[in-house]
């Protein structure tokens, strides 16, 4: 109680300081006068009386100081004083302050910005209730397109029965839908979900309600839950949305609620619908087909269940499924199921890239901090005299250390302020960068945790910097003072420290440069990959005339759509400047998600050989010419390859090599095969190969070419709706005219993905370009800071050795020798730094192997280039102080 009261009084004392000081002075003066008066009363003369009174007082100033210490919070007040003093000292060396604050701002800014991404995308707890109990199930198999083949309804059923550790399994089938509104038709991403989905995911509505088990099954009204993002983007956050009707795929759907903001995996979603919205999802083919895999699965761990137990149970259930239904799981394709914590699944595409960037940013900060440490050390030497004077006036070592800390805090926190300003500017850019890698990109912000990280970083730096400056041990100051020291030559310890810092800077710069070099070469290699097309003057677009239901179940609609596609093609072909126009899906360089097993007539698979899969693509007779896809042998499709005529196909080079090694495929027959065909209108008839097309980079420039089967547009459903337009030059200039034609024939159909081949190609390269650009800018920054560091340390060493150099020169050393001496001093540091850096870079390159393409992690060209660059910059940085050393005039130095 009494301590609390005293503490409160002291805190209050901080604020009433001025009045209290005046009162104290008055009180002390009164005391002095009373005492003087007392002496006079006893007969002491006035002067002597005052002297005696002063003598017993023990000094008015000291007394006032002692009371002040007692009154407020001296620690805080003296920190404030320290900071005031630090500001004043820094104002006196503005160049030093500016260099340090800029360096730190860059280093801390890079870290703040990247950390905000890491936190938003990887570290922040999920918004889902008990989000750490959510797991994502992934079924995969060998071969292209096999990394995530999702699940079929029977598989989900078996897992549900076989894994009691999973309290609930939610089904989520990604799908697209055409949203028709007054503003036109737009394709949106939807998820068809089971009624337990939101309960399992632990998500709540911000408006209305979410779907529940009573929304499952046939015969219920179709309903939609909008995601928060879609609601804001499309409806401006209109709170009267609940109960409104949306037109999706020409059917009316009631909006029942808006979901809280939440990330979706694998892709962003606009609305979540109950299953009745898709006839297909309730059809027997979907519900009973074991190989009809269209469903993503997220589950919640039961209370008390562990991830390990869930994994074991899922593995056991999956093994039982494989042995019971061996036709659905080709053993050679190695079907498997992984149980992954949901937050890991959300972060998996981003993780490597982000840790790379975080590492790069940390390296920049290390270099920046090393530079600041060096600057501080050098400034420390110049300030020795000042410190000695302060010590003489009674400042202890602890007090001096606190003064240094205050200065460094001012510097690092000023750096942090600029850093945060930079990060605020950069965060929008980073969100669009991260959106390529993570569904959580919109959660990136500079929140309290990020700012806390920045402050913690700054304070840690300040502490470190305050302790690199070596202060003498308590008591040795007296020796200095009596020796009349004005400055000490840099002690051995300090010199070693400085050199160590320079070596570290060089090494870290080399690592960053090597990373930047490898990523840049990756990007260049990627941009040089041939698309497989003979030209880039190709414009593609996608026009959807049919809903999925119409496509699958309505032959009349299919026929009319084909007729309209044909009219579009012919009208576009008549446009001036158009060389060819064609129909075919997907557009060239875009991958198809329609894949089936395929077999060749008269060829048996070897034991253990995986079933070949191929992408199904459609093409009309003009497609290969229009897209610029070369035909290696055989002929393109002809107008005579009609619905009723003989069934023909064209396969690509990859499939030809797989099915017919050392044989001419033309004239051979192949057929689609597999259980899953039962659920499609595609027949398993034999089809004759009429041609072999060259490979194209449909899965991205860095992807392995996949096996492809082209079917004639006339002999297949009108899937995809792709149009391909080729021009002599400037194909993008045709966009408006082509779009007008499409609009005339199909006024309400959405026109999507209007892209030239060059743009598609760029989409594949640009994430790498951003990576390379970010790491390169970090690398360049690092090298610049490091170069300044080397030059600075050597310059300092030269100025500390002016006397020695003067003596050497007067003893006969010529300028060249002096210059070589300094160069050697720098060269040794440079060489050690290079060796360490290259070693470190070799390790770092192996870590980022997954981000490289077309370059080995130990790519000699990159490493030699980086070493040479760094050496060149280092030598230039050494040259300047070496020249200065050589210009030292021995006569002048010796005399001073």
């Amino acid at each position: 109680m009494r301590h609390l009261r005293a503490a409160l009084a002291r805190i209050a004392g901080v604020f009433t300081k001025h009045r209290a000081d005046a009162e104290l002075q008055e009180e002390l003066r009164a005391h002095l006068e009373m005492e003087t008066a007392e002496h006079i009363r006893r007969g002491v003369p006035a002067d002597e009386a005052r002297r005696r009174a002063l003598l017993t007082s023990g000094g008015l100033t000291q007394a006032a100081e002692a009371v002040r210490d007692r009154r407020g919070l001296p620690w805080i007040e003296s920190v404030a004083a320290d900071i005031r003093y630090a500001l004043r000292a820094l104002r006196r060396s503005p160049a030093f302050a500016a260099v340090v604050v800029t360096t730190l701002a860059l280093g801390i800014g890079a870290n703040t910005a990247i950390f905000s991404v890491v936190r938003g995308v990887l570290l922040k707890p999920l918004p889902h209730r008990d989000g750490d109990r959510l797991v994502y199930l992934r079924q995969s198999m060998d071969g292209p397109g096999g990394t995530n083949i999702v699940f079929s309804v029977p598989e989900v059923r078996d897992l549900r029965n076989g894994a009691p550790s999973l309290a609930g399994i939610a089904e989520y089938s990604p799908w697209t839908s055409i949203h028709q509104s007054d503003d036109g038709a737009v394709r949106i991403n939807v998820g068809l979900v089971t009624g337990n989905y939101f309960e399992v995911m632990g998500l709540s509505p911000v408006l209305g309600r979410l779907t529940r088990p009573s929304d499952d099954g046939p015969g219920v009204p179709p309903v939609a839950v909008l995601t928060h993002e879609f609601w804001m983007r499309r409806f401006g956050g209109d709170s009267s949305i609940v109960g409104r009707q949306l037109t999706l795929d020409r059917k009316s759907v009631t909006v029942i609620g808006v979901l809280q903001p939440a990330p979706f995996f694998p892709d962003r979603v606009d609305a979540l619908l109950n299953m009745v919205n898709s006839e297909h999802h309730l059809s027997a083919t979907m519900v009973e087909g074991r190989t009809h895999r269209m469903t993503e699965v997220v589950a919640r761990l039961a209370p008390g269940a562990t991830l390990e137990r869930a994994r074991a149970e899922v593995a056991a259930a999956y093994a039982r499924m494989q042995s019971r239904f061996n036709g659905a799981y080709d053993p050679a394709s190695h079907y498997r199921v992984a149980v992954i914590p949901f937050h890991e699944a959300l972060g998996e595409r981003a993780r490597l890239t982000l840790w790379l960037l975080m590492g790069a940013a940390a390296f920049v900060l290390i270099i920046a901090a090393a530079n600041v440490a060096n600057l501080t050390l050098m400034r420390g030497v110049r300030r020795e005299h000042e410190l000695v004077v302060r010590a003489a006036l009674g400042a202890g070592v602890a007090r001096l250390r606190r003064l240094l800390l205050a200065e460094n805090l001012v510097l690092t926190l000023a750096g942090a302020v600029f850093a945060v300003l930079m990060a605020i500017g950069g965060v929008r850019l980073l969100i669009s960068f991260a959106a390529r890698y993570s569904p959580r990109a919109n959660e990136i912000r500079l929140d309290a945790v990020v700012l806390g990280f920045t402050v913690a970083l700054s304070v840690t730096l300040a502490l470190l910097l305050s302790f690199v400056a070596s202060l003498p041990r308590e008591g040795t100051f007296a020796g200095w003072i009596s020796a009349g020291v004005r400055r000490m030559s840099g002690g051995l310890r300090r010199q070693r420290l400085q050199r160590g810092l320079v070596v570290a800077q060089i090494a870290v710069s080399v690592v960053l440069l090597a990373g930047a070099g490898l990523l840049t070469r990756t990007m260049i290699q990627l941009a040089q990959v041939s698309t497989g097309l003979k030209t880039e003057e190709v414009l593609t677009m996608q026009v959807s005339l049919l809903t999925p239901t119409e496509l699958l179940f309505n032959p009349a609609a299919d026929a009319s759509a084909k007729e309209r596609y044909g009219r579009m093609r012919d009208a576009i072909a008549a446009l001036p400047g158009v060389v060819d126009a064609a129909i075919g899906s997907p557009a060239p360089l875009r991958s198809s998600n329609v894949q089936f097993d395929v077999k060749a007539e008269g060829k048996a698979l070897a034991v253990g050989e995986a079933l070949p899969h191929a992408e199904l693509r459609t093409a009309d007779p003009q497609y290969f010419r229009a897209a610029g896809i070369p035909l290696l042998t055989g002929r393109p499709f002809a107008t005579t390859d009609e619905a009723g005529s003989g069934k023909v196909v064209i396969i690509n080079e990859t499939l030809a090599a797989r099915l017919f090694p050392n044989e001419d495929p033309v004239g051979q027959r192949i057929a689609w095969t597999g259980d899953v065909l039962r659920f499609t209108p595609i027949s398993a008839d034999w089809r004759t190969i009429v041609g072999v097309a060259g490979n194209t980079q449909d899965g991205g420039l860095d992807a392995e070419p996949r096996p492809v089967v082209f079917m004639p547009f006339a002999q297949m459903l009108a899937i995809g709706g792709g149009l391909v337009i080729r021009a002599d030059s400037n194909v993008s200039g045709l966009t408006a005219a082509a779009t007008r034609i499409v609009r005339r024939i199909a006024p309400t159909a959405p026109i999507e993905n209007v892209l030239t081949v060059a743009q598609i190609k760029d989409q594949s390269v640009s994430p790498r370009r951003l990576n390379a650009a970010l790491v390169s800018s970090f690398g360049i920054l690092a090298v610049l800071i490091a170069a300044v560091g080397i030059a600075g340390v050597l310059a300092f060493s030269v100025s500390a050795r002016t006397n020695e150099i003067g003596i050497r020169m007067s003893l006969g050393a010529d300028r060249g020798r002096v210059q070589r001496m300094i160069l050697r001093e720098g060269g040794v540091l440079l060489a050690i730094g290079l060796v360490l850096g290259v070693t470190g870079a070799l390790f770092a390159a192996r870590v980022i192997r997954g981000l490289l393409f077309g370059v080995a992690p130990h790519d000699p060209i990159t490493f030699i280039g980086v070493a040479v660059t760094m050496a060149a910059i280092g030598i230039v940085a050494c040259w300047i102080p070496a020249l200065r050393a050589a210009r030292i005039d021995p006569a002048i130095t010796m005399r001073s």
Binding site: E23, L28, A30, H31, M34, E38, E65, A66, R70
Partner: protein
């Protein structure tokens, strides 16, 4: 001249409280004089010792201070004991007696043993 003693830590507060208890409200100079006289000039109090101690007692709520005219018409800050201060004085005096008894008990047999 009598031997000068340093004021032992913790005892000054007790002396101040005791002084104010006996003499009633008093200014700093008066407290100092009284302590010096009571100690027969073996203790001298410089301001740097006295005033922080007074401030501490004030902060703890054992004394209050107010500005008044002194006997010879000078403005001075008078310190007065509060109820809490009186209680604290009793408690500390009690503890002090116990401590001195205890220490005396320790020192007495030592002399006998010699």
């Amino acid at each position: 001249m009598a031997e000068k003693l340093d004021v032992k830590q913790g005892t000054l507060a007790l002396m101040i409280l005791g002084t104010l208890d006996v003499l009633g409200p008093l200014h700093g100079y008066g407290v100092a004089r009284r302590i010096e006289e009571t100690s027969k000039n073996r203790l001298t109090l410089n301001y740097g010792t006295l005033y922080p101690a007074l401030l501490k007692l004030e902060q703890e709520g054992f004394v209050t201070a107010e500005w008044r005219q002194s006997e010879n018409n000078r403005r001075a800050k008078y310190y007065a004991l509060t109820a809490a201060g009186r209680k604290q004085l009793a408690r500390e005096a009690h503890e002090w007696h116990q401590t001195t008894d205890l220490i005396a008990a320790f020192l007495a047999p030592k002399r006998e043993a010699r």
